[in-house]
């Protein structure tokens, strides 16, 4: 659909990729095919911890159609990947550390042959002791997942006199929380293709989140230079952080590098579950105290994040979780000890929310308990304890921009659930015999950007070609959230044109600039700023060039549509006579002083959610009937896009709370299918999701925008859990909360 009116900033412009995707025309990473492509299939370890004694590929290579079977000995270069440090082999040589570790890659002329051959690869293993529990992995006598031990990272912060504070506190609450190993479960599994492009570059076309970083990772693993490798990232079928790390890139690159033939891969769903990245399960101990007047006094927190067999972004998730683990509240006395630990479990990395989603389960339930204990309304209690300008946050960093927590809380309070909570929880007596309802709320904050000490920049180009067409070039991939539509809206706004007048070049290391990774709720903010600046730069160049040709001055000209016009006399010059011209924009995330790599953040988004739930006392089933979400978007560049993020984040949060967990028993995943790993269907979600978008502009953001892709999900779990407490009087500290856990708790409580 093309609207006749130019969509402006803040309008609900239809996304630029909508038609191609809906009609099936968009070529996803798994849709790309070329003549003569090889099909790839990866042999996984299938055991959590073992030494490889031998690998025999001879029988597999005899299968008709098989071109070659690759193992670690075929890999040139370091054979190692990892965003923060390279602890993960592309193909394992001596040791496998989790079930999904890759041992061999089959390349064949047909998909069928890859399956047959994979079954015939013989690997001899010697089993090694398995460590599956992160607390056990921290003990000195634990089996070691990596040579240097299992502790990947630890952080310790504190201030005040904790012992005295707890001694003198009126009310103390102590709880241990456990959160699940949520799978990203993007609808398109990890997939892509590799080939040599026209310029002879080894090209990997793949579903991912940061082309330039993948380019570096691929080159390093195979001893190539970055110029030898091109990465193209078309819009993938979902990512949510799960495609930020290397997934299938290196298998593709290896086979094309060594066979000189194009190849393709798409992981089967069970393989994606087995091998793919997950959310870190967190074990959290919270001890918090307040006065009878409702003032927070002290907090002691221990966080343990299970990163599984490899670190990926584990230390960054831990740092982010540590920064956010006490919420947007002021605790005068505190102590935080955090650990990121290797185990032989499926490995964890980036996932929407990045440590804040996990810790909100703890702190927001603690807040609920304390508010109830002092007999104070939850919203008032939070308002009373919100971080003020100039007050130190958990890491000691002082906020230098005002928190909008109070505004968010006020909107939640006025909303259709919270304001009517007394009536909404009433059920007619016949229904109420076996059903109970409750309303609960939670608030959250979420720093956006990569945080202190981590380079966080974006370059965007906007060009005018000889024919008068605009081109926006960015490395930043739209992984589904619609950020690129927002960039296009911002560029169109500067150029006075329609979004359709701009062609997009996205996610290509050869054709486009480095705009950083699509993660950390950063892209609308920082890439959007760069796009705005690039468009302004181009606009200035166009007007300057036109001024020369029209023998006028640039401030007497207007740029609209496809022409430059002299305001005074209406004389105009078509853009086709002014190209080619190139505009470039750079932007950096505002930074603050580093406490530890990646923390703290300078800019934060705030949100609150209110849930109405109903519990079936006969079965333990929980239904979320209504959900109200309030977010401060700074400025919604695309209103519909923000709403869509909100609704999607809530449902991902609902799944995290009630349904989703990759269950691992002694390192073995027992539910690697979509029939056993349970995602919410359309019948499991409230049809009544209301999003209130507040707009308190962030001065450094484009048009005042803030990042919102994660804060939309962060408070969901705690809001539902607090509502469940209101309904049942039971506190649930372990998620996902299955009907069985609910019913067991209710029965035990009598």
């Amino acid at each position: 659909m093309t609207s006749m009116v130019t969509p402006g900033i803040g309008d609900s412009a239809p996304r630029i990729d909508g038609v191609a995707k809906a009609s099936g025309a968009h070529v996803y990473p798994s849709d790309f095919a070329m003549e003569g492509m090889l099909w790839l299939r990866v042999l996984r370890a299938g055991r959590p911890h073992a030494r490889i004694l031998s690998i025999d590929t001879r029988a597999a290579e005899q299968v008709p159609g098989v071109v070659r079977v690759f193992t670690a000995k075929d890999v040139p270069g370091t054979n190692r990947v990892g965003i923060l440090f390279q602890d993960m082999p592309v193909l394992c040589k001596e040791q496998v550390r989790y079930e999904g570790d890759a041992v061999a890659v089959v390349a064949a002329e047909s998909d069928e042959a890859t399956y047959r051959a994979r079954d015939l690869i013989k690997v001899e293993y010697e089993a090694l002791p398995v460590v599956s529990d992160p607390r056990a992995a921290m003990r000195p006598d634990s089996p070691r997942v990596h040579e240097n031990g299992n502790l990947v990272d630890e952080l310790h912060f504190g201030r005040g006199d904790l012992a005295t504070a707890f001694e003198s506190a009126d009310l103390i609450f102590e709880n241990e929380y456990h959160t699940g190993r949520q799978a990203h479960a993007f609808l398109e599994t990890e997939a892509g293709a590799a080939f040599y492009d026209d310029g002879g570059r080894l090209t990997v076309r793949v579903g991912g989140q940061y082309p330039q970083r993948d380019q570096t990772q691929i080159a390093r693993a195979f001893g190539l230079s970055n110029e030898d490798v091109r990465v193209i990232m078309p819009m993938p079928g979902g990512a949510f952080g799960g495609k930020d790390e290397i997934t299938v890139q290196c298998y593709l690159a290896l086979v094309t590098l060594l066979t000189k033939r194009p190849c393709r891969i798409m992981l089967d769903r069970d393989e994606s579950f087995l091998a793919g990245i997950k959310r870190h399960p967190f074990q959290m101990r919270y001890k918090t105290a307040c006065t009878t007047e409702g003032k927070l006094v002290a907090a002691e927190v221990e966080l343990i994040a299970d990163t599984g067999a490899y670190a990926s972004l584990g230390p960054a998730v831990l740092a982010f979780g540590t920064e956010h683990c006490l919420g947007p509240y002021y605790f005068p006395n505190l102590k935080i000890d955090s650990y990121c630990v290797y185990t032989n479990n499926s490995f964890s990395g980036a996932f929407r929310g990045f440590g804040a989603v996990e810790t909100a389960v703890g702190i927001e339930q603690q807040m609920d308990m304390m508010a109830r204990a002092v007999g104070m309304d939850s919203i008032r209690f939070r308002r009373l304890n919100g971080l003020q300008l100039g007050q130190p946050a958990a890491l000691g960093n002082v906020l230098d921009t005002e928190s909008t927590l109070n505004q968010v809380l006020a909107a939640a309070e006025r909303g259709s659930i919270y304001s009517q909570r007394e009536e909404l929880v009433q059920l007619p007596p016949t229904q109420g015999r076996w059903r109970k309802r409750g309303v609960g709320m939670a608030a959250a904050w979420q720093g956006f950007g990569l945080g202190a000490g981590v380079p966080d920049y974006a370059i965007v180009q906007v060009a005018l070609d000889e024919s008068g067409r605009y081109h926006l070039r960015t490395g930043s991939v739209d992984i589904g959230q619609g950020n690129v539509t927002a960039f296009m809206q911002m560029a169109a706004h500067e150029l006075g044109c329609h979004v359709d007048d701009i062609e997009l070049v996205m996610g290509d290391t050869f054709l486009g600039p480095d705009s950083g990774s699509t993660n950390a709720s950063r892209t609308v903010f920082v890439v959007g700023s760069a796009a705005t600046r690039a468009a302004r730069d181009l606009r200035k160049k166009i007007l300057d060039a036109a001024a020369k040709k029209l023998q006028s001055e640039s401030d007497r000209l207007t740029l609209t549509g496809n022409a430059v016009t002299v305001k005074a006399n209406g004389r105009s010059l078509p853009l086709a006579e002014l190209g080619p011209l190139l505009g470039q924009g750079n932007a950096h995330m505002p930074e603050t002083e580093e406490v530890s790599p990646g923390i703290p953040h300078k800019v934060f988004g705030y949100g609150a959610q209110v849930a109405l739930v109903e519990v079936d006392l006969l079965t333990g089933e929980v239904e979320v009937l209504k959900l109200h979400s309030v977010i401060d978007a700074g400025k919604a560049i695309n209103r519909q896009g923000v709403e869509a993020q909100s609704e999607g984040g809530i449902v991902q949060g609902l799944g995290y709370t009630l349904l989703e967990d990759t269950m691992v028993e002694n390192g073995v995943m027992v539910n690697p299918r979509l029939s056993t790993y349970i995602l919410p269907t359309i019948s499991d979600v409230p049809t009544d999701i209301e999003t209130t978008i507040l707009e308190y502009p962030e001065p450094e953001g484009p048009h005042g925008a803030k990042g919102i892709a994660e804060i939309v999900m962060t408070p969901t779990a705690a809001a539902i859990l607090n509502a469940l407490y209101a309904a049942t009087g039971e506190r649930f500290t372990r998620i996902p909360l299955t009907p069985e856990r609910v019913l067991t708790a209710l029965s035990d409580a009598g």
Binding site: P14, S23, A185, E188, P236, L659, D684
Partner: protein, 457 residues
Amino acid sequence: MQVELTVNGRPHTVEADPRETLLFVLRELLGMRGTKYGCGEGECGACTVILNGRSVASCLVPAGQAHGAEILTVEGMAKDLVGQHLLDTFVEYGAVQCGFCTPGFVISARGLLADNPTPTTKEIQQALAGNLCRCTGYTKIIEAVGAAAERAAGDRVRINDRKGGTLAAQSAGFARPESLDEALALLAQGGWRIVGGGTDVGVKFEHHMGDQRWLDLSGLDELGRIHEDDDTVVVGGGVSYTDLIQSAAVQQWARPLAQAARAVGAKQIQNMGTLAGNLVNASPAADAVPSLHVLDAVAVLRSARGERKVPVSELATGPGQTVTAPDEILTQVIIPKVRGDGSGNDSEITFFEKVGPRKAQTIAIASVALRGWLDAKHGRLTHLRVALGAVAPTVVLALRTAEHLMGGPLTEACILEAGEIAAQECRPIDDLRASAAYRRRLVRGLLVRGLWPYVAS
């Protein structure tokens, strides 16, 4: 073999192993990649196409089963008035994010609007519960489908629903006979496995369909019929859950079966899965089987040797095991018509209650089917049958529970006691989905939940 397909109105002939999936044929042999792979087991709906008028998961359809069929894919939506409305509204209402699930949703919605041009929100949810979306939270998808329905008012919404895919197929590894005798003769030779709706074997033999010889029964029209006489309703083994839901005879005489059929999987699986498949797979969690127990249904097993009748309650002997011989086909299910005590003072009450890990597209952790007659005046139940699913190696006919309930009157105390008895009558196990203890509690809870409306009123 040469597989003939009409896709979006255009005939195609492709050389394909008939055991390849229809999804593979569409994507790799015809190059139509709008239809997506998401899971390979009919859970996610990304591969949904309309096959002979009904939405199906193309990852579970063997190509040979689609031989001769008329298929509608997302690539055909732009040429279809209603389809074009859906494409428009999905984009306008922001129902597309990563978009990978969108073609499947568009097709499922197209199937819905063909049957029901003015769906309610609830009906949209039911029709789309077999399609997973990880990005949107579904709200905007519901809005988009509602808006498309409004725009389509007055357009031609029907899809060509030629029943069939009527071409016979025969190759070394795949046979799709047109007569039952032919099928029985092949089966008598040995070495053939039966595929009906494909919803179970397609999952069990994912990537390995090619290792087996398949006898496809979907071409046998005689297995696809429902008919009735004075005393019975006879349901063909090849009847799908959707057929059951739509059958007036089933609604009237076998309501628990219609209720169970609605609880099976989601739309695509209801369109594909067959009643015979549900019985012969003998999963303890099979949704239709408890209902067939309370209906006192009898299965007809045919072979080249002859025919025999086995009560449904005696068919399964354990998980995945039945008394069916390798050369037998379950051709029919006979459901006796029961009319209560004939006094006219009682009314039939039935339910099928189920709890799974989620609300739709879910495998039962426990289920309860019930049918009886309630004399509301005296609060007495008669002719009562209660069956429990997923709580023992085979479905449990809960005789003591029924007896207790019939001892009535139907009060809160009575149903709570009956719940406790039912919990004792089952023999559940611990597994991935739930513990045995929870299953017992569920049986109690489901029985109470199902009967509560009659107590409360």
